[in-house]
């Protein structure tokens, strides 16, 4: 990506064997944050903060939550009041069933994060692998895969998720993995498209021919030469899809096809239970799960759009750094004018506008815009 055009800082850097790779990885992660500015930076940082907060909540849920997600009685064995108003014991109140809303929200974060991470892992694996194979092998393999993926892509996201969840619930049950697989089916086509397009253009690069010339097998070419260069556009889509996936998960839960209430706390389910409460003026059962969804979705979206802004050169406007040149003296000026065209140095291309650049530009930001369907 274009951010690479900047020469690596630190000329005095002494590479230590092995650790350079880690350093490079960290630097790669830090790069969008360092290179962003203005609105992009604001989005990126705000988004990241929200997402990290949610992640922390998910990880430390057992410490943060005051009760279990399906706990209806205190340690003393006394049942919680139904519809208790927010107060000292239940800071967000309790639900129709007597669950503690605060605890449900905290445990819900864990559910959401687990499901989305699982779904991301599945769909990244499938989408990237299939996209790579289709783009590299071409011919009928490509045509069949494109057809299948287009068919999946054409279905409304939630409908597809419901069908898959419904089919899987028979065999796998109503847990997190079912929900994750249902969401996977929705997002595989997006990764597939982006990776396939990037592969098709990357495989024409000279370095791929060079790999062939050194005797590399097709599989080696795919995984050592193409993969690293085509997945660079994936983080942006993955983050945006994660936001979308939260909504899909909540949608599934709301409609009753998601995670069963006995398995885990889930915001969509809680919202659905809260629908009847609103008429009775019980606002807390709906507000807090809803707010949690909004915050996480917003965090992921901001992060994704911020990344997109800094990493996708097509829409990015580079900050112009003013360059001040020393004034030419009159003598120098005439001399410069006399140098004939072909003697001027600098036929060499500027350092790296190479492969990476072209690849990451390939998938337009349009590829990521499926969010509205959910």
């Amino acid at each position: 990506m274009a951010t690479v055009t900047q020469p690596m800082p630190g000329p005095g850097r002494t590479p230590v064997k092995g650790s350079t790779r880690v350093v490079r990885l960290l630097r790669g992660i830090a790069r969008p944050y360092r290179n962003s500015h203005g609105v992009g930076r604001f989005m990126l940082v705000t988004g990241t903060v929200l997402v990290v907060l949610m992640l922390l909540t998910a990880v430390f849920a057992p410490l943060i939550a005051t009760f279990g997600f399906s706990q209806v009685a205190g340690a003393d064995g006394q049942r919680f009041m139904n519809h208790a108003e927010p107060g000292a014991e239940h800071i967000f109140g309790t639900t129709t069933q007597g669950f503690d809303v605060f605890s449900r929200v905290v445990w819900g974060a864990r559910t959401a994060v687990t499901v989305v991470l699982l779904a991301l892992a599945f769909s990244l694996f499938l989408g990237v692998l299939l996209g790579l194979i289709a783009g590299f092998v071409g011919r009928w393999v490509d045509r069949v895969l494109v057809m299948v993926m287009d068919a999946l892509f054409a279905l409304p996201a939630l409908l597809l998720a419901i069908v898959v969840a419904f089919l899987l619930s028979e065999y796998v049950g109503g847990g997190a993995s079912t929900a994750a697989l249902a969401i996977t089916a929705v997002y595989v086509p997006q990764y597939f498209r982006v990776v396939r397009a990037a592969t098709v253009s990357a495989k024409e690069q000279t370095y791929v021919e060079a790999a062939r010339a050194m005797g590399a097998r097709p599989a080696t070419i795919m995984f050592r030469y193409l993969l690293t260069n085509v997945i660079q556009s994936v983080p942006v889509i993955a983050t945006l899809n994660a936001a979308d996936a939260i909504l899909t998960l909540a949608g599934l839960g709301f409609l009753g096809y998601g995670i069963q209430p006995t398995e885990a706390a889930e915001w969509g389910y809680d919202l659905q239970r809260a629908v009847s409460d609103t008429g009775a003026g019980i606002w807390w059962t709906g507000l807090y799960p809803g707010l949690a969804i909004v915050l996480l979705v917003m965090g992921l979206t901001l992060m994704g759009e911020g990344l997109n802004e800094t990493m996708n050169p097509a829409i990015r406007v580079r900050r112009l750094i003013p360059i001040s040149m020393p004034e030419l003296t009159a003598a120098q000026r005439t001399k410069a004018a006399q140098v004939p065209e072909r003697d001027r140095p600098g036929q060499d291309r500027p350092v790296d506008t190479g492969g990476e650049d072209r690849n990451s530009r390939e998938p337009g930001s349009g590829e990521t815009g499926k969010g509205g369907a959910a």
């Binding site: 020469p7 370095y207 060079a210 050194m214 050592r224 690293t228 036929q347 291309r349």
Partner: protein
């Protein structure tokens, strides 16, 4: 009289087996037209990128492939390494015929045959550090047992190509190198497995002027130390003269002249070679000959000219060179450029139909309506204006036939390679049977 191309082995060399022998090699690319065109026309056009090449590569020599862009140099070079599948012909390397070998078996041969690419900025995987990239061939061919051993070999090779101190380069990414350093890395990757043949495809054309000579010197030095045979592809005669033992001049997929560098440069025989040499800027600053490339442009490889493919541009072309209807049209175009708008407006309607004439026809029939006599007169006028245009040697007869004018051309002959001194040249001028008065 199409002479059968002979193999380029002189008596003194024939004792030693050539490293690689290329016989009648053809690489044709099918250009797929639009779906509609394929439905209607059956098949798309064919680009004859390499069209019947015969060369024997001697061990340890540097053979230059020289020609304008589009003459098929890169395609020939890639074919030598089995990177494109030839349409027909043979590439004999040891006991193997690379032209027929399945990819799977070719992979193990690739260790001995390597390539240096034109664009060093694109030839290295942007996300692989040098130690991994340069060491990868070793690991592919299982020439090292461990990563550490590969790294050690890479370190030696980096020193060898002048990327010193090697330790500083091992963990660098290509983006951190300059163009010249990248090309050195590409060369390092090419030699690390100990190849016999190195095809260098314009290895310096995309580099800064200041490093070009250094890269060529490095390649010469490596050639000496490692006993390499080079195929050096270039469009630049000056570097070919400096670098090559033998030079093959390519034009539209054929070798038109091949021989020792000194003789080619001192006494070029093919009109195309002569024109190329005249176009070289500072080979001899004293010389006061016009530095013009041959007239016209390099023709479309999908529809190469009849007979000698250089004839539309050849100032010495004569009767058997392959005259055809297209040349008549080109003659009128030159005429209109010379005479200006008026002549164009006057004459174009008369000869207009020539645009629709198909390529390979030794006879053209222009239906001129009621103006056949006018057209005949115009042709005669054109001939009288430029009697020295080689085209007129090829026109056998102009006759009117009812309402049409028929122009007949002399039959064209495809020139094969002929031995003249130490050089083989594909030009009728050097065929005593054809060229009595030249």
């Amino acid at each position: 009289m199409p002479t059968k191309p002979e193999l380029m082995t002189t008596p003194e060399q024939s004792a030693e087996r050539p490293l690689m022998e290329i016989r009648d090699l053809k690489v044709h690319y099918e250009l797929r037209g639009s779906a509609l065109a394929r439905l209607v026309g059956g098949e798309g056009e064919t680009v004859k990128a390499v069209d019947g090449v015969n060369v024997a590569l001697r061990k340890g020599e540097v053979l230059g492939l020289v020609g304008e862009s589009g003459s098929g140099k890169t395609t020939l070079g890639r074919a030598l390494l089995g990177l494109v599948r030839p349409t027909s012909g043979h590439i004999t390397y040891g006991d193997l015929d690379l032209a027929r070998m399945p990819q799977r078996q070719l992979r193990s041969v690739r260790r001995r045959l390597q390539m240096v690419f034109q664009d060093p900025h694109a030839a290295l995987n942007p996300s692989m550090d040098l130690a991994t990239a340069i060491g990868h061939p070793l690991r592919i061919h299982k020439l090292v047992k461990s990563k550490a051993e590969a790294r050690e070999r890479v370190r030696e090779t980096l020193e060898r190509v002048g990327l010193t101190p090697a330790d500083q380069f091992l963990d660098k990414l290509p983006a951190e190198l300059s163009g010249g350093q990248k090309q050195r890395a590409v060369i390092a990757r090419a030699i690390i497995c100990g190849p016999e043949l190195l095809v260098a495809d314009e290895p310096i054309s995309m580099l800064d002027m200041s490093v070009r000579a250094k890269i060529l010197e490095l390649m010469l030095e490596l050639g000496r130390d490692l006993d390499l045979t080079y195929v050096y592809i270039t469009h630049d005669l000056a570097t070919a003269k400096f670098f090559c033992d033998r030079v093959a001049i390519m034009y539209l997929g054929r070798v038109v002249e091949i021989g020792p560098t000194e003789e080619i440069f001192a006494d070029p025989k093919h009109p195309y070679t002569k024109a190329l040499l005249r176009a070289v800027p500072d080979l001899d600053p004293e010389r006061k000959v016009p530095r013009d490339l041959p007239r016209g442009e390099i023709p479309d490889a999908a529809a190469p000219p009849h007979g000698c493919s250089f004839h539309p541009r050849c100032p010495f072309a004569f009767e058997p060179c392959g005259w055809e209807a297209r040349d008549l049209r080109a003659m009128f175009e030159r005429r209109w450029i010379r005479l200006g708008e008026d002549a164009l407006a006057r004459e174009e309607p008369l000869v207009g139909e020539l645009t629709e004439v198909d390529a390979h026809e030794e006879m053209v029939r222009v239906r001129a309506g009621g103006r056949a006599a006018e057209l005949t007169a115009l042709l005669e006028e054109a001939r009288a204006d430029e009697p020295d245009d080689p085209l007129w040697k090829g026109v056998e007869r102009i006759e009117s036939d009812g309402g049409a004018v028929v122009v007949r051309f002399r039959p064209g002959i495809d020139p094969g390679l002929l031995r003249v001194n130490a050089v083989d040249v594909a030009c009728h001028l050097h065929d005593p049977n054809l060229s009595h008065d030249h």
